[in-house]
Subunit: 204 residues, 2 copies
Amino acid sequence: MAFPEPLERLIRALERFPGVGARSAERMALHILRSPREEVADLAISLRDARLETVRCSRCRNVSLQELCPICADPERDARLVCVVEGPREVEKMESSGAFHGLYHVLLEGFAPREGASPEADALAALHARVSADGVEEVVLATAPDREGEGAALLVAEHLHGLPVRLTRLARGVPVGSRLEYLHGEILAEAFRGRCSLPAKEKP
Amino acid sequence: MAFPEPLERLIRALERFPGVGARSAERMALHILRSPREEVADLAISLRDARLETVRCSRCRNVSLQELCPICADPERDARLVCVVEGPREVEKMESSGAFHGLYHVLLEGFAPREGASPEADALAALHARVSADGVEEVVLATAPDREGEGAALLVAEHLHGLPVRLTRLARGVPVGSRLEYLHGEILAEAFRGRCSLPAKEKP
C-alpha cells in the first residue's frame, strides 16, 4: 500500500525543494494534513504570490517587487560603488551591517551557489555593461571566502578585465568577536599573511 | 532591508513546517522564486488537494480518500486482528512487510509522535468501541520501542483493561540482517532477556 494519491503527489512536489529528502517530504506532507485549512490555503497563496509578484531588479538583479529595486532607486546611495554578491541573502546581510552605501550586483542567476549553480553569462554581461556605462569607480567582490566564491570572484575579475575600474575584495582575517582558540588554522594563516602595521602611537 | 513582502510572507509560512528553521525556509523560498511557474502552481494545488481530499478512515483513523479506507473495506482482511500503530507511515511500513493481514488502528490524532503529540482521547475511545463491538480477538501493540511509543502502548493497554481481548506487542530483539558489533547495548540486553530455546534437533 502506498499513501492516497493526493498525499503521494504532495510528497513528490515537496521533494523538489533543495535539501528535502523523501522522509522530510513525508513528514511535511503529513503536517499539512493536520494543519488548519486556512493555514494550508495561506501557504498555497504565499507560494504563488512570491513567485508571481517578485521580479529581478533590472539593474542589480536582486529580487524585487518593482522593475528597479528600492536600493537601486534610492538617490542617496553611492552609484560609483558596486558590491558584487552571490545572492539576495548576502544583500540582506550587508544591509543589516550598515557598512555599505553603494549599490549591489547579484551574481548568481540561480540564487544557489551552494547547490552547484555558477554565475550565469548574462549576470556577468550585465555587470560589464553597468561598469562600462554607469560611472562605476570601484567594484567590491564580496563573494564567499570559499572555493565556489573564489571561483565566482575570479570569473568576475576576468570579465571586467581592461575596464577602468578599481577591483577590491573584502578583507580576510580573524572575525571580530571570535576567540582565536576556536578558529580554523587556515583563518589564522590568512590573518598572518595579511597582518598590518599599527599606527604609530602619538607621544603623550 | 528585509526581503520583499511576498517573499517574507512565504518564508514565514514555510517556517511552520516541522523541522524547518528560518534558514531552511529562506532557502526553500528562494528556490521557489527560481522554479518554473507551473511547478510552483503544481505545488500550491497539491497542498490544497492533499488537505481537502483526504479524510480519516472512520474505522481505523488512517489517512484515506473514502470514508472507509481500502484496508478496512477489504473483506479478505482478518477483522479479528487489530494492529495499533502511531501513524500512517507505520501502516505503510507494515503493509510493505507483507506480514500482517488484519486491520489497523492509527493512534495519534496529530500524526506527530516525535513532536510531542500524544494519543488523543477520542482515538483511544474509538479503539475501545471497536474492540467492544467488532469481534476483535487480538490487539497487537506496534508502537515504537522507545519512550513515547512505550507510553502510548501503556495508555492503550489501560484503556482496553477489562475487555475480553488478547493484548500482544511486537517481539524485541536483534534486528534481522544487522551485525551485533553495531547494535546499541540496550538492544542486546533486551535480546538476552528475551532469549528463547532452540527447537530440539531431530536425529538424523
